[in-house]
């Protein structure tokens, strides 16, 4: 089997070429697997920061050769304590480009395509080109966006089972100081980001009147200068957290306020921390979480071991605690759930469709409002929107849906009997009969 000639994949081969018992169900050990990983597996790394740098290195040394990385940021001095692909002379350059270049310089045979742009700037189809998407992000918004994109490729069979080849797995990491998490999201199989968004604690926001009238802490003084005083003084000019002059102004205003109220503790560093919501970050935690993510990526792609099921929390503050929790899917999740399958003729008008929903045995949804890919086809309320959308009622739904054979709709309305009516928001997969290209498979994504 393996060649005797010196090989780069000396260590990895042990795992990829040998059979094992504690492996994934799809594992087919052999040189072909190793070669396929190199040749066919395409991995996108989202974010080229603390996690992203580590991920690119880890993946490049885990048998992957086709990597791409997307990040909109440029390198800053404060990145250098952990983003090890960057040097002082790189400050100001795009992270994605420098990171890709550095890894390619060191790991021969690896190809990394950088994308210096926002994740929203890419067509949805861009994301469909990858087998696995690995996330090294620090914002809920970005995670939520990528999750929605990945889930939009998911299609379900008529029996509500996910179609395997439409599943776009994600591996997500996050860190804060000595703490972090790593998770595997197999849309349609394990909970998606939206199913468990409650895992992310809401950001602490001070009441504005506390800032204005009863400040007690240094942070209150800083937020006063940032949120209230700035607008008062700079009418119209918006605050830019990356402009040192702006930051300096907020700092000195905060100091004045703190002095006025006898509050200790306002420093420039704290001002930056509060205003930019800086999350402390260190190299070791990023290394640990990224390594876990890269290992899971390798396992999903190759089946060479079991996969994390499905959420790992890490805490190194006192001793070292690793906990794996198996979260469950929200079966009614608007983003990853199958939704309710509805078959229609192309002539059915929107009004008829709304009536059908009320009679539908699974739905019994009255007073439905209908939205399709950001277009509000009909809104029952408020009156202003009802009026704007009323004219659609007499049009065929097929036409309103741009004559696509099958797609996702979302509806809100009320269900239940008169005594206990509840409002609900449902996902529907609509299939038009007799239109070319329609098989018995139905799309489910598109949230």
């Amino acid at each position: 089997m393996a060649d005797t000639a010196p090989s780069r994949s000396r260590d990895l081969d042990k795992l990829l070429l040998r059979a094992g018992n504690l492996v994934g169900p799809t594992f087919e050990p052999g040189a072909e697997l190793r070669d396929d990983l190199q040749e066919y597996a395409r991995i996108l790394v989202v974010g080229a920061g603390g996690l992203g740098c580590e991920l690119l290195k880890d993946l490049a040394l885990s048998g992957f050769k086709n990597l791409e990385v997307i990040d909109m940021d440029r390198i800053e001095v404060s990145n250098l304590n952990r983003q090890f692909l960057f040097r002082m002379e790189d400050v100001g350059k795009p992270k994605a480009e420098v990171a890709a270049k550095r890894v390619m310089e060191r790991v021969s045979g690896v190809n990394i395509v950088p994308h210096f742009c926002r994740i929203e700037d890419k067509d949805i189809s861009f994301y469909n080109d990858f087998n696995i998407i690995v996330l090294g992000l620090d914002s809920i918004e970005a995670r939520s966006y990528i999750n929605a994109v990945a889930c939009s490729f998911l299609e379900y069979e008529t029996d509500d089972k996910p179609r395997e080849e439409t599943i776009k797995p994600m591996v997500d990491g996050g860190t804060e100081g000595f703490k972090g998490h790593a998770r595997v999201i197999i849309p349609g199989v394990t909970p998606c980001f939206e199913c468990t968004i409650w895992l992310f604690p809401p950001q602490v926001k001070f009441p504005l009147c506390t800032l204005a009238e009863t400040p007690r802490t240094a942070a209150h003084c800083i937020e006063y200068a940032h949120l209230i005083k700035w607008d008062e003084v700079h009418s119209g000019k918006s605050f830019d957290p990356d402009d040192p002059e702006h930051m300096q102004w907020v700092y000195s205003e905060a100091v004045k306020r703190a002095e006025l109220f006898g509050i200790p503790g306002v420093t420039y560093s704290l001002t930056q921390g509060v205003v930019k919501n800086i999350i402390p970050a260190i190299a070791s935690t990023n290394a640990i979480i990224s390594a876990a993510c890269a290992l899971e990526t390798l396992k999903i792609a190759s089946g060479c071991s079991k996969t994390l099921s499905n959420y790992l929390t890490y805490n190194g503050v006192a001793g070292l605690h690793i906990k794996v929790t198996e979260f469950v899917k929200d079966k009614d999740c608007l983003v990853c759930g199958p939704g309710v399958l509805i078959e229609l003729d192309t002539l059915v008008t929107l009004e008829k469709f709304i009536n059908l929903l009320e009679e539908h045995p699974k739905l019994q949804l009255a007073k439905a409002s209908v939205t399709y890919r950001g277009k509000n086809l009909y809104m029952q309320a408020p009156p202003v929107l009802e009026e704007m959308t009323r004219s659609n009622l007499s049009l065929p739904l097929y036409d309103l849906m741009d004559k696509v054979a099958k797609d996702i709709l979302h509806v809100t309305g009320v269900t239940g009997q008169s005594d206990k009516k509840t409002s609900c928001l449902r996902k529907l997969r609509v299939v038009f009969r007799g239109v070319d290209g329609v098989t018995d498979m139905d799309m489910a994504g598109g949230a």
Binding site: S7, L12, K57, L61, S62, V107, A283, A291, L308
Partner: protein
């Protein structure tokens, strides 16, 4: 120039200037610079460790390029230590990076005094026999030691230090030191200036919850024969009582009081953890006592005398709904008490130093202050010698781990990681190291594992076939992702040990890369 400050900003927010200064003074020695060792050092060099010395006698092979980012094609055939060291230096020019092309095993055998120059030694991918020897050397030289090993989808990290004492343990969640059910006179007097039935709604909703709870807890104890709410029913009643004092539904201070009511229920006095520390025999001072224990002795006296059973007051209060004036006054009362307590401790520390014949001012005021502020959170970690762990095992603990669903795989790996070394000593290679049929290695490893179990006093225990097969499949491979994980953990522990902040892990960390149910085994 403010550059280093900016560069380290994100970590200074965690361990502060003092922690950073400690890192910048430290010298770390790495044994073997495969991916596990290289990744450990990478994280330390980025953070600005003082100096590193990389020790490895091997030359770079092609296979090394597949798992070690510090090496590239141009390094093949060259000294691995030199190549790795050069790349690490590139990461941070503030770090002094050195290398020695030498096998660590040889240094351990031939030159034990060599290790005494370092603050800390990170020993990676070392066999059991050499680990035991190195452990003894470092223990005698008072050099901190961390073992790290990656092996297929498993590995371990183990600290070996005689004693590590922590003042700034910075726990995640810790009960505020508010003395709500036991206020000192000044605090009680301050609380008495408030009337909870004040008619002015603004005054009512700006009464700090600390005041509310002090007054209500007094009211409760007065009507309950001096005891605090203790049963679930009483606690509920106490909360109801608080609720009944609200005059409007949006009174945040009362909501906070209800949420914080558990702070009233906590019995006064020190925790059992702290009790254990002050009872430690090291608190009986001798000429060799460290500053930490000199302060602990003072703390012990304080608790027995001025403290009235309590540690010195921490002195800070959480944010709470209040007028600025009340809050600032409250802060001052807590600070004043903390300063007075600290002064009392300081006097005792100076006396103790004098009695020991040391310079009374040899412990700085700032050190004592920090000690007092953190007195309730002190930590003492002690580590057995590896040899002791191996030759004098705690059989009940091992048996408990072996049968516990959450721990059995980790315990299995612990045994197998030892078994592969024994295997290597017997057969001159690791199980599954070479390609070809593995049946023989599997059965040999199984036998070896049984002998390790027997030596641990666990006769009759076995490991699953699956795990033994898996260990052979690993064939001593050092996978990059696993090495990066293990190296990450090792570097984190190095930082905790050197900064003397946070609490280092107190057992053997076993990495489980199969389903990530990694565990810390205390053996």
């Amino acid at each position: 120039m403010a550059e280093p400050k900016t560069k380290y900003d994100r970590q200074l927010r965690i361990w502060g200037e003092q922690g950073q200064a400690a890192l910048e003074k430290a010298s770390v020695c790495l044994l073997n610079c495969g991916p596990t060792g290289s990744e450990t050092l990478k994280n330390l060099v980025l953070g600005g460790i003082g100096s590193i010395t990389v020790i490895d006698g091997s030359k770079v092979e092609v296979g090394d390029l597949g798992n070690n980012f510090m090496l590239d094609e141009s390094c093949v055939g060259q000294s691995k230590a030199k190549s790795v060291c050069a790349f690490l230096q590139e990461l941070n020019d503030a770090v002094k990076a050195k290398f020695i092309e030498e096998y660590p095993e040889a240094l351990i055998e031939m030159n034990p005094p060599f290790f005494s120059q370092f603050t800390l030694v990170v020993a990676t991918q070392l066999g059991e026999e050499k680990m035991i020897k190195l452990d003894r050397i470092c223990r005698e030289a008072n050099v901190m030691l961390i073992f790290a090993r990656s092996y297929g989808l498993t590995g371990f990290v183990r600290i070996s230090v005689k004693e590590h004492t922590v003042v700034e343990s910075k726990p995640d969640h810790f009960l505020d030191d508010l003395r709500l059910n036991n206020p000192w006179p000044e605090l009680r007097k301050f609380a008495e200036t408030f009337d909870l039935n004040v008619p002015d709604p603004v005054a009512h909703k700006h009464t700090p919850y600390v005041v509310i709870l002090i007054k209500m807890s007094e009211e409760w104890t007065n009507s309950h024969g001096g005891s605090l709410p203790s049963t679930r029913e009483e606690k509920r009643e106490f909360k109801e009582l608080l609720k009944s004092k609200m005059v409007a539904i949006d009174e945040d201070n009362y909501k906070e009081a209800i949420e914080a009511s558990f702070k009233v229920f906590a019995p006064p006095g020190i925790s059992s953890d702290l009790q254990q520390i002050i009872n430690d025999s090291s608190a009986e001072l001798s000429s060799t006592s460290s500053d930490f224990w000199v302060m602990v002795a003072a703390l012990k006296e304080f608790i027995a005398t001025e403290g009235g059973g309590e540690a010195p007051l921490e002195g800070s209060i959480p944010d709470m709904t209040s007028s600025t004036e009340h809050y600032v006054n409250l802060q001052k009362i807590y600070q004043a008490k903390a300063e007075a307590d600290c002064l009392a401790i300081e006097q005792r520390v100076r006396n103790n130093l004098k009695k020991l014949g040391r310079e009374p001012e040899s412990i700085s005021k700032a050190t004592i202050k920090s000690f007092c502020r953190n007195a309730r959170k002190l930590k003492v970690c002690r580590y057995r010698l590896l040899e002791d762990e191996f030759s004098n095992p705690s059989v009940p603990d091992i048996q408990k781990y072996l049968t516990d669903e959450d721990y059995s795989v980790a315990m299995g790996f612990y045994i197998l990681l030892r078994a592969v070394d024994r295997f290597a000593a017997n057969y001159n290679n690791y199980p599954g190291e070479f390609d070809g049929p593995m049946d023989e290695d599997i059965s040999r490893l199984k036998t070896t594992a049984v002998s390790v179990l027997n030596d641990l006093g666990c006769n009759g225990s076995t490991l699953t076939e699956d795990l033994i097969n898996e260990m052979c499949r690993f064939g001593a491979a050092e996978l990059h992702a696993v090495a990066a994980f293990i190296g990450g953990v090792a570097s984190q522990e190095v930082i905790k040990l050197i900064t003397k902040q946070f609490v280092p892990m107190c057992g053997t960390f076993i990495f489980n890369g199969i389903d990530h149910k990694s565990q810390l085994l205390t053996l």
